[in-house]
């Protein structure tokens, strides 16, 4: 499996995403925002965390116009796997690959801390090794991570099982105490209608090895590896 990790000016979790991929046994190619196309034979695109374009104007708002994004959108629309983490999630929303928007945290401050996530959907390529309801401890680090969307969109996401992860307490309960940023319905991560694009505010790449305190984040990468292994090669989407 080969991942392309896109570096935008201001991306600062791109190296971390590459490191986590390597730990999971995923080959990695670096992709530059000024490139017109993704690397050949890309199986997975990762839009990493950071402050693309300094968060100027609005988080992710400028990055979506980077030359490479046209190919990322094409790749996603053809069913290619795209994982957007933190700023990557923001870029996915700005580029229209995912619905909704990520606005200022309800507490108005940047928050970096561990949160618990409850796995809501196990039918996606990003959660295929997880049990429904499985709890993951994964850190967040953002100032603008409050997921919002109009009521119809939220209803649709819920009805179609497109909420991948929800912020919860250590016991798995979901309530306002477990919500670190005021996100609608405690939503921490969603997939698109095709299930091939995941955006999530927490950073699974940060907890991909026990040395750093927890390896729960590795589940996301391991799911992708399993999904890739299970899929017949002919059905894979090529970037060409």
């Amino acid at each position: 499996m080969k991942a392309a990790v896109v570096t935008f000016p201001g991306s600062n979790c791109d190296a971390d995403a590459r490191h986590a991929c390597a730990l999971a046994g995923i080959d990695v190619a670096a992709a530059w925002h000024k490139d017109g196309a993704l690397p050949a034979d890309t199986d997975l695109v990762i839009l990493p965390g950071g402050f693309s374009y300094g968060d100027y104007l609005r988080t992710g708002a400028i990055a979506r116009f980077s030359p490479i994004m046209a190919d990322v959108v094409r790749f996603a629309n053809n069913g290619g796997l795209v994982l957007g983490i933190c700023n990557g999630f923001q870029i996915l929303c700005e580029s229209g690959l995912l619905p909704g928007a990520l606005v200022r945290n309800s507490g108005l401050s940047f928050v970096c801390k561990d949160v618990y996530l409850r796995t809501e959907s196990t039918s996606t390529p990003f959660t295929s090794t997880l049990e429904k309801g499985a709890l993951l401890r994964i850190p967040i680090a953002h100032g603008e991570g409050r997921f919002v969307a109009d009521a119809n969109t939220i209803d649709e996401l819920e009805a179609q099982g497109r909420v991948a992860f929800r912020y919860c307490n250590a016991d798995g309960s979901v309530n306002v105490d477990a919500n670190p940023n005021g996100s609608a319905n405690n939503i921490a991560g969603i997939v698109n209608a095709g299930g091939n694009v995941l955006g999530m505010m927490p950073h699974p790449e940060r907890y991909a090895e026990a040395l750093l305190g927890c390896a729960d984040g590795m589940n996301v990468f391991a799911s992708l590896v399993q999904h890739y292994a299970a899929a017949a090669p002919t059905t894979l989407v090529s970037s060409q």
Partner: protein, 746 residues
């Protein structure tokens, strides 16, 4: 040569820029003529304490500055570099941004972080950790709450966006810092030993580039005027001297800089911080024994009509001065363009040792580079010292207190845990990204942070900052010593061998003999401790004039310590790991209350002598504990510091909510329970390994006392205290948020 001056220069002009009459005469002597206004401006910033160390260098030179691990020694480059083996080094340095933060807390703190990060990556090192050491007034005034909010969000804003994890720090609160907070920022970077860049200009004819942001009018005289005066009613008017930071620009500058250095096109490179173009051109030239011809018309400007004086003195952020090897300009320009970083040639290296500057085609400065810098013609002063009178009043014997009973002891423990200096700093550190880079093994809340070095598998470094300034105030020599000893102890408590320090020396007005005595004594103490602990000084920074209305802050020599860990799997934290383990105190338990948090919080006095310290005992304790951690005997370790033994035990309970059941087999005096005797570490050890620990302690000559066992949900001190750990933790965790949010509501 005909020189153009924008203003007529007299001795009074020099005085207005912060120079003395003698210094002005010295400048006239060096040049053999009256300086131009631009030249005078350049001298005023270069001969400021910040750039020249004129009042401090004689003392700094007494510190130990050599060691077998030093790849780059103190003063040679922008930061010291320590060899960590396998072809890699760690660069680290701490610097103050006190005065800007007092005037404009958000930008002052943010640019303090930006400045220290540039010091690290200008050497070719990629920053892997940031730390900060903060001092505020007691948080009961709106001004202090405003300063805390501004400084914390400024540090977070810059570090988070830049992409460096802010992994540790310390915050103390005391009334003496109300008007003059201290903001010391430290950065740590990893560099290939054969890829260290130098801030030296060489090669006549090599082109000189300015890389990074355009030059504006911000920060003019930040170093020479703002940082060289005390705070008074006029301070607010100094706000325009504070720089404005752009961490996004710095992130791009970082990547472009590292790629340029890696490509082998760079002859020399220096960041522009204090004194901007003046400092970078003169220091790089003086170090290389060359000169520079600089055309200011080529410098990208934010405002077209800036004068030579303003351009030379601007402290606009996110800029580098780069000497490129002739013939490699295009390669260099391609790299800068890749990262969208402006890169413009502004001059070339010359052979005459002169900084020759033109503006609008006319010469505005022609100065021997050597005359501007430390080690050249910059003045060096021997300052008068006098033991402060206040010491006669404070240095009295302090009674270790009456025997405490349950109610007083429990109340005192709660009060200490709620004291902002001791209380949890979570409200602060959760605003900092502490994990970007995926190397943070231990973070804020521990004794020291631990950063894994990906480039050298298995290897990690420990980093910490430390200074209890109350001790330094009460006894500058011993306080300086304790600051070093405690920083080293913090490294040892996570399993790291302390190897070197950087320091940030925050003091009052050096022209006050009593302040200067504090300065000299603190350095003497630091030096003695560093020699015994074998932790040389790799560099740092001096910040004088930390005063307001003629009251100096406590003398605060902040120590940034680096420790080495050969096997990252041996690292331990400071929380009890499981129930039914032994809780053991290693070290010299004493009954002392002098300078303690207990004295301040419970008795409202800053009194007595600093805690006693035998640096030789300290070394024995540290070696013993480090060996025990490395060999897996000890599972958790915590330095017994502010708040003393009971606070230490409570903090060890908090991590995993594991209680403790201990017997304190002495009269329960305050001095015993809450005193801050040095050279004590509490550890967790299993029944299987306690024999090993006893044997090791005996051999090392370190006293060892089994206090009790871990387990349960309470902190239970027999015949004295029994409180739920959760209850105590709530006190500890809520203190700071309560202070910070009550202000919002008022």
């Amino acid at each position: 040569m005909e020189m153009m001056s924008e203003l007529d220069v007299t001795e009074q002009t020099a005085k207005d820029l912060g120079l003395t009459a003698d210094e002005y005469a010295r400048i006239v002597g060096v040049l053999g003529r009256t300086p131009t206004y631009t030249e005078l401006g350049v001298y005023s910033v270069m001969w400021s304490e910040h750039c020249s160390y004129k009042n401090s260098i004689l003392q700094l030179k007494t510190l130990p500055r050599t060691g077998s691990r030093m790849l780059v020694a103190a003063g040679e480059e922008n930061a010291g570099v320590i060899d960590i083996g396998q072809g890699y080094g760690v660069a680290f340095k701490i610097e103050s941004h006190n005065h800007p933060s007092a005037v404009e807390p958000f930008q002052g703190a943010a640019t303090g972080v930006g400045g220290i990060l540039r010091d690290i990556f200008t050497m070719g090192a990629r920053p892997v950790a940031a730390l900060n050491s903060l001092r505020f007034g007691d948080p009961d005034t709106p001004r202090t709450v405003y300063l805390i909010k501004g400084v914390v969000s400024g540090i977070g804003h810059y570090g988070n966006c830049f992409g460096v994890p802010t992994v540790a720090g310390e915050v103390y609160f005391d009334r003496c810092y109300t008007d003059n907070p201290l903001v010391n920022a430290m950065a740590v970077g990893v560099v290939r030993a054969d890829g260290i860049a130098s801030a030296t200009a060489k090669g006549v004819g090599n082109p000189i580039f300015i890389m990074g942001s355009a030059t504006g009018r911000d920060g003019i005289h930040g170093a020479s005027l703002l940082a060289s005066r005390e705070f008074d009613d006029q301070t607010e008017s100094m706000r325009p001297t504070v720089q404005v930071g752009d961490p996004f620009a710095e992130k791009l500058l970082l990547e472009a800089t590292l790629e340029l250095i890696d490509a082998g096109v760079v002859v020399g490179i220096q960041d522009m911080g204090a004194a901007g173009i003046s400092c970078s051109t003169s220091e790089m030239s003086a170090k290389g024994g060359v000169g520079m011809r600089i055309d200011l018309d080529k410098v990208p400007l934010r405002e077209a009509d800036m004068s030579a004086y303003e351009i030379m003195l601007s402290e606009s952020q996110e800029r580098m001065l780069v000497v490129v090897e002739r013939g490699k300009e295009e390669h260099a320009a391609r790299i800068a363009a890749k990262w969208d970083v402006p890169f413009v040639a502004i001059g070339e290296v010359t052979n005459d040792g002169m900084i020759y500057v033109t503006r609008h085609g006319k010469a505005v400065a022609h100065i021997p580079a050597q005359s501007l810098v430390l080690g050249g013609d910059a003045p060096v002063y021997v300052r008068e010292q006098r033991k402060p009178e206040y010491l006669d009043l404070t240095n009295v014997a302090v009674d270790p207190g009456p025997i405490l009973h349950q109610q007083e002891a429990t109340a005192a423990l709660r009060a200490l845990l709620a004291s902002p200096t001791i209380a949890s700093k979570r409200w602060i550190y959760e605003q900092y990204d502490s994990q970007v880079g995926t190397n943070s093994v231990l973070r804020s809340g521990g004794d020291a942070a631990v950063i894994r070095i990906k480039e050298v598998p298995g290897k990690a470094v420990a980093v910490t900052t430390d200074c209890n300034s109350r001790y330094v105030y009460l006894n500058p020599y011993r306080g300086g010593m304790i600051a070093v000893a405690e920083a080293a102890r913090n490294c040892v408590c996570v399993g790291a061998l302390p190897v070197a320090i950087t320091n940030c020396l925050n003091f009052g007005n050096p022209y006050d003999p009593e302040v200067y005595w504090q300065f000299a004594e603190a350095i003497r103490g630091m030096g003695d401790a560093c020699r015994t602990l074998d932790t040389p000084v790799t560099g740092g920074n001096v910040s004088f004039h930390n005063e307001s209305q003629h009251h100096a802050v406590y003398p605060t020599p902040t120590i940034g310590m680096l420790g080495l860990i050969d096997d990252v799997s041996t690292v331990v934290g400071n929380a009890f790991t499981q129930a039914d383990q032994n809780i053991v105190l290693l070290g010299w338990q004493r009954e002392e209350l002098g300078g303690s948090e207990y004295m301040k919080v419970i008795r409202h006095r800053v009194l007595g002598d600093a805690p006693s310290l035998s640096i030789d005992d300290e070394v024995r304790l540290q070696r013993c504990v480090l060996d025990a951690i490395r060999s897996g005997v000890v599972r958790a370790a915590h330095d017994c510091a502010e708040g003393g033994l009971l606070v230490c035990l409570a903090e060890m309970c908090f991590g995993r909510g594991i209680g403790a059941d201990v017997v304190v087999d002495t009269p329960h005096r305050a001095g015993y329970l809450f005193g801050e005797a040095q050279s004590r570490i509490v550890v967790e050890v299993s029944d299987e390994r306690i024999g090993d620990l006893r044997a090791a302690a005996q051999e090392a000559g370190v006293p060892m006392e089994v206090l009790g066992r871990t387990g349960g949900t309470t902190l239970h001190v027999h015949d004295l205290i029994e409180v739920d750990v959760e209850d105590l933790r709530s006190t500890y965790e809520r203190a700071l948020p309560n202070i910070m949010t009550s202000e919002v509501e008022s």
